[in-house]
Amino acid sequence: MDVKKVAKLAHLDISEEEVAIYTPQLAKIVEYVEQLGKVDITGVDPMLGGLTDEGQATDTMRDDEVIVSSGQEWATCEAPAAVEGHFQVPKVL
């Protein structure tokens, strides 16, 4: 695994020291999970989620009704930086 490349994809700014630590650890884990290559999966449908048959059968639709929103102040009050109900971020361009 190219750990630097994967870290970039995962939006992690990892250091060279971390690359040195994670590379052998992740290699060992990947080697372990590769044992799945031994399993005969011919004709097996993938299990796409965790739902039981009853979960699949449950009606999860609701009426399309307008409900009161909690508001911008509420939505932004935990943000590290927010101004007048807007999230503030470093410059984009």
Binding site: A10, H11, I14, I41, L51, T58, A79
Partner: protein, 464 residues
Amino acid sequence: MFESIIKKALDDAERLNPILNAFLSLEQAHAEERIAELGKERQELPLFGYPIAVKDNICTQGLRTSCGSRILENYRAHYNATAIEKLNQAGAVVIGKTNMDEFAMGSSNENSAFGICRNPWDTERVPGGSSGGSAAAVASGVVRASLGSETGGSVRQPASLCGVVGLKPTYGRISRYGLVAFASSLDNIGIFGRSVRDAAKVLGVIAGRDPLDSTSAEVPVPDYEATLDATVSGRRIGVPWALMGEGLDGEVRSAVERSIEGFRSIGAEIVDIELPHAMYGIAVYYIIATAEASSNLARYDGVRYGFRAEQANSLREMYHQTREEGFGPEVKRRIMLGTYVLSSGYYDAYYAKAQKVRALVKRDYERAFASCDAILTPTSPTTAFRIGERSDDPLAMYLSDIYTVSANLAGIPAISVPCGLSSENLPIGLQLLGNFWSEALLLNMAYKFESEFPLKEMPKIFAD
């Protein structure tokens, strides 16, 4: 009367926390408010004045919900999880939020950003994880029940290591609205109890369909306490002997064998079963769980909540540095592994394959339950290990989930109940796994076992 019970729980928690570090926050003011509210309530509520501890990845309105992570260190949830709403309506009082492996990733609680939690039976040892604090809070007598969460055994394994009851329900049994997502197709809210009855009581309150969680299922909630004492005579218990070989500690094996004899002595029939794909459970789990985690944890970007790195000059730099500084090593490892298995060119080899083997794991259970009512295994292959013993070897740590992960993959319920102590005075847990929606049966069997073969010893660190 109930005020004194709640105040005692808070006092005990405060007094023991310098030793155990089971709680990340104690909520005195919130408890006072709840006491005042309850003063006006009907006392016949099912959990009236019942103090409860909650894992710090379950949202509690206005209270800290850190997920054991620096990235959410000062985060206060905007709303209550449905499980918390239901506990409040039933008269329970949340006294504090418990320590955990960061984002529920770990089996020892050593991955918490806020210090390790210690096992009340031996403070040099881990309580298990990831819900280590919730297990220790119950084991040390601070509360009779607590909430945890499970993705691969994070309630059952610490329950086993701390000598308490740990229940993982069927996928869809308890609403996950307000449970911070780790791996959505595997995550469950689970329950710790001092006794099986405590777990049954709490499950009865928080189970059921919730319109706010589309994965919660429309299945009636039975009266779990009503059937606790039903006879287990004639019940068939399947034992997958082939799984109990390599890696299983000798003393754990002996205790589990004695438990099997114990069940036989109270009328259960023991049958041999096979779960041929269970041995692949950990490999499947570490592909699916990390893939889902890499997606779920993408939301932590320093914009809407939580920690933000301050030095960044651009938006992209801010994202990368925030995540680099905010996440601990195990979370980064899993995000990277998940990113890798989902990345272009690798998807079919890892993720698609894992989903197929997952279907086989589930099919094994469906076949097994055609010939038995429940399956019995150890919960954890070993008793509580020493702090630091496995922290340099992530794979060795992952292998401690061997008996628990497959229930999460299949979506079936399972319970861990104490079944003895090792020669070093450390608790051993046995696990009962049941068919979908069979929580009432599992609680009944665990209750009968607990009544016949109670764990009489107490941990070294205990509230009274």
